[in-house]
Amino acid sequence: MIEWNEQHLMLQDAVRKFVDTEIKPNLEELEHGDTPPYDVLRKMVRTFGIDAMQRMRFEKQIAREKALAASGDGAVAASEPPRKAVEGDGDTMGPALQLIPIIELCRYCPGMVTAMGVSAGLTSAAILSKGTIRQKEKWALPLLTLEKIGSWAITEPGSGSDAFGSMQSSAKRRGDGYVLNGSKTFITNGPYADTIVFICKLDEGNEPRERKILHFVLDRGMPGLVQSKPLRKMGMHSSPTGQLFLEDVFVERERLLGESEDAAGRGGRAGAKATFSMERSGVAAMALGIVSQCLELCTEYARTRVQFGRPIGEFQLIQAKLAKMEVARMNLQNLVFRQIELSAHGKGMSMAEASACKLYSAGAAVEVALEAVQLFGGNGYMAEYQVEQLARDAKVLQIYGGTDEIQISQIARSLLSH
């Protein structure tokens, strides 16, 4: 893929119109008020038939899994092509259509993409990759259609980058179920989530380092579960972030993802890491939206803002900023094209490649957005001008989904291990 095709542009156009009429007029409320983003997101998902498409895809996958389960792995696997081969026909439509709304929304409201991505992306993906068929039907589908809002909770006050090492949250067996305890912080959608994937360690009285990692699905309102109010933060105001407190929350075994403590490979550390990897790949599209918008706003401003008797675009120092922004935009676009192409062929990025991609994208978004503030001068520092918001929003891309430092160490580890 070297450029957007006619259908891609058609969707881009339609989403832009939607953003113009539904989001731009409400931006003030979404960014500085107490309006959660979910109603607008639901409207978008319905308007573009994304919910119907998600449901169709989900039903197909579940039907395949059921057939597979019913006939014992071998027979069906041989007669029916696996999911990857069905999807990997080189058609870029599917993956492109998923990324285009992300890019377009990020031009105005990266927070909404964060809220949507964690719910319909991360949380549902965790259930889809680790859950039983019954768990997927019960919890993943309503997340994919945004009917329900989801949170994926791993971070704790004492454990961030070292997510597993210092994790305190625990599960203890009781009767046929488990008792959960712990607190989580910085949890996207935490204040409003209907469905929470809670990650903790199985406490069997053994060494914390040796404990198994388990994923549980919680519902809003369960006894012992408290969801905090949104935390105040630097940016991404349209994405509510909060804390979760669990005090002796009793759960049946049916809430343990995979319904087995040994869903090895699928669950546990590997499962959580796979989720990290997917979280990282969305960042290029987000950065592309932020950078494209900054570039457009800056180009216009450079043309029209006059100082020393001429448009500031005539000063070479301003030109250098614009040129650098364009270079970043092209790089990000190429990364997004590569992701689409890989996905169209049923492939994905390796962990190290996804890390490199996230590291570059987040850095580019932050650099461009801060330069955009600079180019706008005093106006750039004022909330009235959009670059001020984009600069605050961009910063978190270097922190969540694994900090820059963690990406760097993972890239280096992969390079040095060969």
Binding site: E6, Q7, M10, L11, D13, A14, V15, K17, F18, T47, F48, G49, I50, A52, M53, M93, L97
Partner: protein, 251 residues
């Protein structure tokens, strides 16, 4: 029921238009083109009729340069069933466009032609009317509401006229042109965009319609409207009244 919807490719009304220095037309480089907003409203209405009645077919037709495919594909993605493009690189005047459409109507025999009341580029507001008279079909222009009788043989149209609303009814086939407040067009949806790839988009050269050199109206020169001069602040009401009297000559 078969509904024919003619649509036109026009510059996006949101973009700033610049006139070429020689006055021969507008600068089209880097200008976004869209479906004429009134045509889009006509298409939306046709799609709603289709959804309400079930079994209706919505056929799009456009006369314009080859790139008009983009707008027709968008229309197909919104939900039209098939599309036809009469490829014409030069601009046609309203009467010539209506002549081409007449031949298409005769070949397709739709029950209803739903068109925009005018296109926002030349604002002629003529094609629907000329088409109706050349076919000798009933017409209702500036529709703000379109309703069908139970047997689908008759249509009642509410029209926006000076000073109020007017209702007219006629037996199909006929022509309705749409006003701004009839509906709010939908967005092309993801499934719609996917499906549109497989829908028919037929191209026919303008030469097939034998209208070469038929245009009676030619654009001689375009000029941008004069720039609005800056406003002025007045100190008192008396001063304002005085200026309205002596300068603006309004009172």
């Amino acid at each position: 029921m078969k509904i024919l919807v003619p649509i036109k490719r026009v510059p996006d009304p949101q973009t700033n238009i610049a006139v070429k220095p020689d006055g021969s037309g507008i600068v089209t480089d880097n200008v976004k083109f869209v479906i004429n907003p009134f045509c889009e409203i006509a298409l939306e209405e046709a799609l709603r009729v289709k959804e309400q009645q079930g079994g209706a077919e919505v056929v799009l037709v456009s006369i314009g340069p080859k790139v008009t495919q983009e707008q027709l594909r968008t229309g197909l993605a919104m939900g039209a069933d098939r599309a036809m493009l009469v490829v014409a690189e030069e601009e046609l005047d309203p009467a010539t466009a209506a002549t081409v459409l007449k031949k298409i109507v005769e070949a397709e025999s739709p029950d209803l032609v739903l068109a925009g009341k005018q296109s926002i580029d030349d604002d002629a507001n003529q094609v629907g009317q000329i088409l109706a008279s050349s076919l000798d079909w009933p017409q209702a222009t500036f529709a703000s509401k379109v309703e069908f009788s139970a047997d689908k043989k008759e249509v009642t149209v509410t029209r926006e006229v000076d000073g109020g609303l007017e209702q007219v009814a006629f037996a199909l086939p006929g022509i309705v042109t749409t006003d701004l407040r009839l509906n709010e067009p939908r967005y092309a949806s993801l499934p719609g965009i996917m499906k549109a790839r497989k829908k028919e988009l037929k191209e026919v050269p303008l030469a097939d319609y034998g209208v070469a050199g038929a245009a009676k109206v030619k654009t001689h020169k375009m000029a941008p409207p004069p720039k609005r001069s800056a406003g002025r602040k007045v100190e008192t009401v008396q001063e304002l009244v005085g200026l309205l009297h002596t300068e603006a000559k309004l009172i």
